[in-house]
């Protein structure tokens, strides 16, 4: 709506006149160009009725609401959902960054210090595979750039080394933790991209809450306490087939699979096996088990399994048993399968990795998971060192530390190991057992070199239209809470003031 003092429109009234007319106006915008003196909109008293209620009660004004006029064609079923969930990975308006290397097999093996702060592109085949695996999320900012690229942080280099090590037998059991928007899901994308580029089989559960939220159907598996989720498994098999088409097309069935109810032709490819399971949800779980046995047979490539949202599977799910007791997430077959590898109960015979990321934006709190992560960090880096800060106040978050400090004034620093709080009721025993031996990687803010590299990439893509020098890098880095990636992105990319 143009301002009343717009100099271009001589027919607009002066501001003085406007203020006196405001009370007479209705709340709708003025589409008419006649001056407001002649354009007073009457109140809707004509349409309303004064209804005399029962004796002794006040009169009420009942205004009849007009039904909204439906215009245009309503969207087809599923269209709104598709629009919500679409992932745009390329933007031709962005510039192509000159000299951008791609993530390749030998690069993953040789990621050194010189790569820190660089953004490596992801090749077309890997992009297609990860798109099929739903590794890219709609709320991430892939749509701004010409091609998807991942920032190489120091943690990415460490992750790359771990993936190379995991190609031998045993496998990697990693949990990615960190504050909100520190790049955990993107680190998962990096891991999946690196694994795919090295020829691994990629399995991804993009949102663990879809498994535990009671939004897909479930059925009890006879003979065990587990529950299978048939439609989810069927769609997962489609995703697996599409992601790993290049590898699975070349592999054939080598074993007998008695647990599959239908007769399997002896010489089908694993892609065909996935299709059979995807077509019929009733047999999707046995087919997934058969597929797994085939994929872990001798001489097959390593497998990476990624899951986003570890807290959701560290507590009861929203499903119920027939006795109306809650079903624990670990009793869901897919979750049980993933956790068997994350907990170390089973190992990948041909090498592989089970990586889980936590979600810190609105996930439920899982005390067992928090404790497990703390303990894991302490196993990796030694006990927590408590120090006094410059004002002599102790920094602690453990009950024993408080007591120790109270007892000994001369203590400068002690090592405290995280223990179970004896008064806490909300620990989950099964999660405690499952997460006892995990390795964790805690993500924090970017270093300034990494932040600079990222911002230079944005500038080269034409999104950040400022000179990238120390001043602006420091400014954005500081405003982002010492380099939290999501906040740098919000400050520099999304807020285009």
């Amino acid at each position: 709506m143009a301002s009343p003092a717009c100099w271009k429109c001589l027919s607009r009234p002066s501001p003085l006149q406007m203020t006196s007319q405001i009370q007479l106006r209705s709340a709708t915008a003025a589409f008419s160009t006649t001056t407001p003196v002649f354009n007073v909109v009457k109140k809707k008293t004509a349409a309303g009725k004064l209804i005399q209620s029962k004796a002794g009660q006040a009169k009420t004004l009942r205004l009849k609401k007009k039904a909204p006029v439906k215009m245009g064609k309503p969207p087809a079923p599923g269209e709104r959902k598709a629009m919500r969930k679409r992932v745009v990975l390329s933007n031709t308006n962005a510039l192509a960054v000159p000299g951008m290397q791609d993530l390749k097999k030998d690069i993953v093996g040789n990621l050194g210090k010189e790569f820190v702060g660089r953004v490596l592109g992801i090749e077309g085949k890997t992009v297609d595979a990860l798109r099929a695996a739903e590794a890219f999320k709609p709320h991430q900012s892939w749509c701004f750039f010409r091609r998807p690229g991942i920032l190489i942080r120091e943690e990415t280099i460490v992750l790359g080394e771990k993936i190379i090590d995991a190609e031998k037998e045993g496998g990697l059991k990693l949990v990615l933790d960190g504050d909100r928007v520190t790049g955990k899901s993107l680190m998962l994308v990096s891991a999946l991209a690196m694994a795919h580029v090295r020829g691994w089989i990629v399995l991804n559960v993009p949102e663990a809450q879809e498994l535990t939220n009671a939004v897909t159907d479930y059925a009890a598996i006879e003979g065990s306490k587990l529950y299978s989720q048939n439609t989810y498994t069927a769609s997962w098999l489609t995703a697996i087939a599409k992601t790993n088409a290049a590898i699975l097309d070349k592999l054939k069935l080598t074993q007998e699979h008695p647990e599959v109810p239908i007769p399997l032709p002896a010489d089908i490819t694993l892609t065909r096996l996935c299709e059979l399971g995807a077509r019929d949800p009733e047999i999707s779980w046995p087919i997934l088990q058969a597929l797994w046995k085939e994929m872990t047979a001798n001489g097959r490539p390593p497998i990476i399994m990624a899951l986003d949202g570890l807290q959701y599977i560290s507590q009861d799910s929203l499903y119920r048993t027939p006795d109306f007791k809650p079903i624990h997430s670990h009793d869901l077959a897919i979750v049980d399968h993933f956790l068997a590898y994350l907990s170390g109960e089973k190992t990948f015979p041909n090498g592989g990795a089970a990586i889980a990321a936590t979600s810190r934006s609105h996930a439920p709190t899982s005390k067992s998971m928090e404790l497990a992560i703390r303990k894991s960090q302490e196993r990796q880096f030694g006990g927590r060192v408590i120090e006094r800060d410059t004002w002599g106040r102790e920094r602690y978050d453990d009950i024993r530390a408080i007591e120790a400090f109270r007892n000994d004034e001369n203590l400068r620093s002690i090592e405290v190991f995280a223990e179970r709080d004896p008064w806490e009721k909300n620990y989950d025993a099964r999660s405690d057992r499952a997460l006892a031996k995990i390795e964790t990687m805690k993500l924090a803010g970017l270093s300034r070199i990494e932040a600079r590299g990222l911002m230079e990439y944005w500038a080269q893509s034409g999104l950040l239209r400022k000179q990238v020098d120390e001043k602006i890098v420091t400014e954005k880095w500081t405003l982002a809470g010492n380099g939290v990636v999501g906040e740098i992105e919000r400050g520099a990319l999304h807020m285009r003031i």
Binding site: A214, D217, F324
Partner: protein, 103 residues
């Protein structure tokens, strides 16, 4: 879910029936196998719902009135039964506390 459209079944009972047959809360009726639907119908027929429930509620109220109890008289007069104030705020009682058919 559509189970709750039955008179006498609310959130509690519908959740329990769904859990009994391994149906997740967002399931569509058309997607259920026929034998599950039959099983649910059988289950519902064992419960007092709809007309049976309405008749029993009505019968209770008529019983109260016929034996001359305080509660029966309040129902007959259309006044609050549960000891509320009558100086004001009795529109709901006037509307709902009837001896005749409950809607």
């Amino acid at each position: 879910k559509s189970l709750e459209t039955f008179y006498g079944i609310g959130h509690q009972h519908s959740s329990r029936i769904l859990a009994k047959f391994h149906i997740f809360p967002g399931a569509r009726l058309g997607a259920l196998p026929t034998k599950t639907v039959t099983a649910i119908t059988a289950e519902l027929s064992t419960m007092t719902i709809e007309t049976d429930l309405r008749q029993s509620v009505q019968g209770n109220i008529i019983r109260l009135r016929d034996m001359g109890s305080y509660r029966g008289r309040r129902h007959a007069m259309g006044l609050p039964v549960r000891g509320q104030r009558t100086r004001s705020q009795i529109t709901t009682a006037r509307k709902l506390n009837k001896v005749a058919k409950q809607n």
